[in-house]
């Protein structure tokens, strides 16, 4: 992207990166090519956007796209992934990754257009400070055959550390986000507002062994549809089905992690959300990309029956809801819409507003105040820029002691005092506090790390390690992490996934090979962070989780520092 000359587009053969996809691709490139001590917004950082190994094929659930860089939020390596159409379209266009490097001339904004004729970079300052929704509308008018957009909102242009990269969904709404770690700020620093993808005239990627691939895909789909989580609970209620349960368990972080229960949670539960969507003419069941058979998403309409946002996810409903004491589903959907439009991470922003509420900037439970605060970010006021820099910065600016972050990134929607095992993952993940870092509940199937007693607290460190390995592997395939729930109980579904990869590439991957891939990815990420100056002291939860008891069960985080340091001793 310059700065001494106009941007240049080059196509490079994969070389040593052949056989990598998704997170394996982004983390390997970042680890090898980005100086760990570089400034995240500087010319030496790179933004890598990579579809998964099976994206662009007819494989079900293969539409995750990974976005990697050195994170402006954590200062470490980052991979954030998203659904939407971007991954499938980019892969069908024949690209294994887009790498944006360098730094542009000042005050210039670009769009990148990629179609079957190749890629070109076009200066377009008319897009400046446009929200993602208006942006994709304008792009659609200009490029009527465009099939997906990858874009940033005003938050990315302002290079705020909570900025996301948005991916359009099947309805061309910019509602899917690579949300965590400020990847949108890096795209903004490169001067790229939007990548327009058009796969018109391109065919699906063909497997090496079409017959075996078809058979494996069929078995995989059958496995997903027959499982109670992927075949029933997620399609019916989406991820927000968790609200009532996590609350019942006393693990629902409420009002900036002060309590484990939110009195009015049934007003914002998945059951209520699905009923509201259906009653207003929206959808309680919807896929974020073509080829999705789980359909965990939905369409949320306002009171007048007009589209407001995609179905807010559990994490979003928690962050802007219970964590801020807000029990108004319409207000939460509006906050989700604003976050998507400005290009902001809903988890980071919910956590940040809760910290601001604790500082007295607004009252807990004041939904309109929360909406106004997000609008401050969109406008780029001084207060908005502080908030858009995340919970850690906001906590420092306003002198708040209880700031729920690890490596500068806000904790998601499970209190680690009640669910201590996930606290181990929050503390030790190379990504900062991230529930999806240990999300792939397939460690039992992969058999990584031997047997542990699942009912013993002693197994938590080993389980967290195994989950992080399994997750890194699944993230590298580009498959939606939700496939893991079926894999947990159905080894044949996992085998079907391996068969799909093998028949597509003509490989002989085994379960051991998958686990090894996960370990390799994690090692390269840990290595990058170490070279960026991270030590074991960064693998810790904030002090208050050890000191403050969490009602109603009155528990504190009990895993010792020594135990946390064992997570990556493999």
């Amino acid at each position: 992207m310059g700065p001494d000359k106009d941007p240049v587009c080059t196509e490079t053969p994969l070389g040593d990166y052949a056989g990598l996809g998704g997170r394996a691709m982004t983390s390997t490139i970042i680890s090898k090519e980005v100086p760990p001590m570089c400034h995240p917004l500087g010319a030496d950082n790179k933004l890598v956007i990579a579809p998964g190994l099976l994206s662009g094929t007819s494989a079900a659930m293969s539409g995750r796209i990974s976005v990697g860089c050195k994170s402006p939020l954590t200062g470490g390596i980052k991979e954030a992934n998203a659904g939407g159409q971007g991954s499938q379209v980019l892969a069908r266009l024949g690209y294994a990754a887009i790498i944006i490097e360098g730094k542009p001339k000042k005050d210039v904004l670009y769009k990148v257009v990629i179609d079957r004729n190749g890629a070109r970079i076009i200066e377009d300052n008319s897009l400046r400070m446009m929200g993602n929704y208006d942006l994709v509308e304008k792009i659609k008018q200009e490029y009527d055959t465009a099939t997906a957009c990858i874009s940033i909102g005003p938050a990315g242009e302002m290079k705020l550390a909570a900025a996301t990269v948005a991916i359009t969904d099947t309805d061309f709404h910019p509602a899917r986000h690579a949300g965590r770690g400020g990847v949108g700020a890096v795209m903004g620093a490169k001067g790229v507002k939007v990548i327009v993808l058009d796969d018109t005239g391109m065919k699906m990627r063909e497997p090496k062994d079409p017959e075996k691939f078809r058979a494996a895909n069929k078995k995989f789909v059958e496995g997903l549809k027959s499982h109670p989580v992927t075949g029933q609970a997620l399609p019916a209620y989406g991820t927000n089905v968790l609200t009532n349960i996590i609350n019942e368990a006393g693990a629902y972080p409420t009002k900036n992690f002060m309590w484990g229960r939110f009195d009015n949670c049934s007003r914002i539960s998945g059951e209520t959300e699905a009923e509201t969507e259906t009653r207003r003419g929206g959808k309680a069941t919807h896929g974020c990309h073509r080829g999705c058979v789980i359909q965990c998403s939905g369409i949320y309409m306002d009171k007048d029956g007009h589209y407001l946002s995609k179905q807010p996810e559990y994490e979003t409903v928690w962050a802007h809801g219970g964590n801020c004491g807000i029990d108004d589903l319409d207000a939460i959907a509006m906050l989700d819409r604003l976050d998507d439009d400005f290009g902001l991470d809903t988890i980071e922003m919910g956590a940040t507003i809760a910290v601001a509420m604790e500082a007295g900037i607004a009252e807990f439970g004041d939904a309109q105040a929360a909406i106004n605060l997000i609008k401050e970010v969109g406008k780029g006021t001084p207060l908005g820029r502080i908030l858009g820099s995340g919970a850690a910065v906001t906590g420092k600016v306003f002198g708040v002691e209880r700031v729920p972050v690890v490596k500068g990134q806000a904790l998601p929607a499970y209190d680690p005092r009640a669910v201590q095992g996930i606290g181990v993952t929050y503390a030790t993940s190379p990504m900062g506090a991230d529930h999806t870092s240990g999300y792939a509940v397939t460690a039992n199937i992969l058999g990584v790390g031997g047997k542990v007693d699942p009912l013993s607290s002693k197994g938590q460190v080993e389980l967290s390690r195994n989950l992080q390995i399994a997750t890194a592997a699944v993230d590298s395939t580009g498959m939606c992490l939700f496939i893991a729930f079926a894999v947990l109980d159905q080894p044949e579904t996992f085998q079907a996934l391996i068969d799909m990869i093998n028949s597509f590439y003509g490989m002989n991957l085994t379960a051991d090979g998958v686990a090894e891939l996960g370990k390799t990815v994690l090692k390269s990420e840990r290595d990058f962070n170490a070279r960026a100056g991270f030590t074991s002291k960064n693998d810790r939860l904030p002090e208050f989780y050890k000191k403050e008891v969490l009602p109603p069960h009155n528990v504190t985080f009990q895993v010792t520092d020594e135990e946390l340091d064992e997570v990556f001793n493999w």
Partner: protein
């Protein structure tokens, strides 16, 4: 929520199969049932509510007793005044962790229910608060509705408002405090400040 007997209205409704779902929101927000306490969760569900053992095994994957995650339905005893929450299988790492006797149960050991088998006394009348989340509403909710649930009148009023059209088509019979009545009689009831013992049966049409 304690319900006063003095203000209790007993309502017995028969509704068409499509209208039963109108009452599911009541089940997730919680209700009281009167049962014999001092038995295990499994025995309560199978013997007192008539839920088939296989249905209990397969559809009830996540159970909380007084807010703590249960691993063994046979070893966990229902006592008077306790809160029992039931759910189907759940997504998420934490969803997997809360599953009864699941592989990842160690993750939530701090909030696991300690088995309390060896009850101090045998079965005796009592009450408990029940919450049915997600797919347990449609799958086992009808058993609870047949058994009879106790709720606040305002909650039922909300159901009647939200599902006015469905219930107007689907209401087959009404009994108020043991006497036959009609949908008109039902509408005339002042439900505010009253407690309701509600029985709902699905008709065979």
């Amino acid at each position: 929520m304690a319900l006063k007997h003095s203000s209790l209205i007993e309502l017995r409704l028969t509704v068409g199969p499509q209208a039963v779902s109108c009452f599911y929101p009541l089940l997730s927000s919680g209700f009281m049932i009167r049962v014999q306490v001092g038995c295990s969760i499994h025995d309560l569900l199978r013997d007192q509510l008539g839920i088939d053992g296989k249905l209990v095994e397969t559809h009830i994957q996540t159970v909380f007793l007084n807010g703590k995650a249960v691993d063994d339905l046979h070893q966990s005893i229902i006592e008077d005044g306790c809160v029992l929450s039931l759910s189907g299988a759940l997504p998420g790492m934490v969803g997997a962790a809360f599953r009864k006797s699941g592989f990842y149960a160690g993750f939530r050991e701090a909030v696991s229910f300690r088995n309390n088998k060896a009850p101090v006394s045998g079965p005796r009348p009592g009450s408990l608060r029940v919450k049915l989340f997600n797919l347990t509403g449609p799958t086992i909710g009808p058993f609870f509705l047949r058994h009879g649930i106790e709720i606040a009148g305002t909650e039922l009023e909300e159901v009647f408002q939200t599902c006015a059209d469905t219930l107007s088509d689907g209401l087959r019979s009404v009994k108020i405090n043991g006497r036959e009545s009609t949908s008109k009689g039902l509408r005339a009831l002042d439900l505010k400040h009253r407690s309701i013992r509600l029985f709902v049966e699905a008709s065979m049409d």
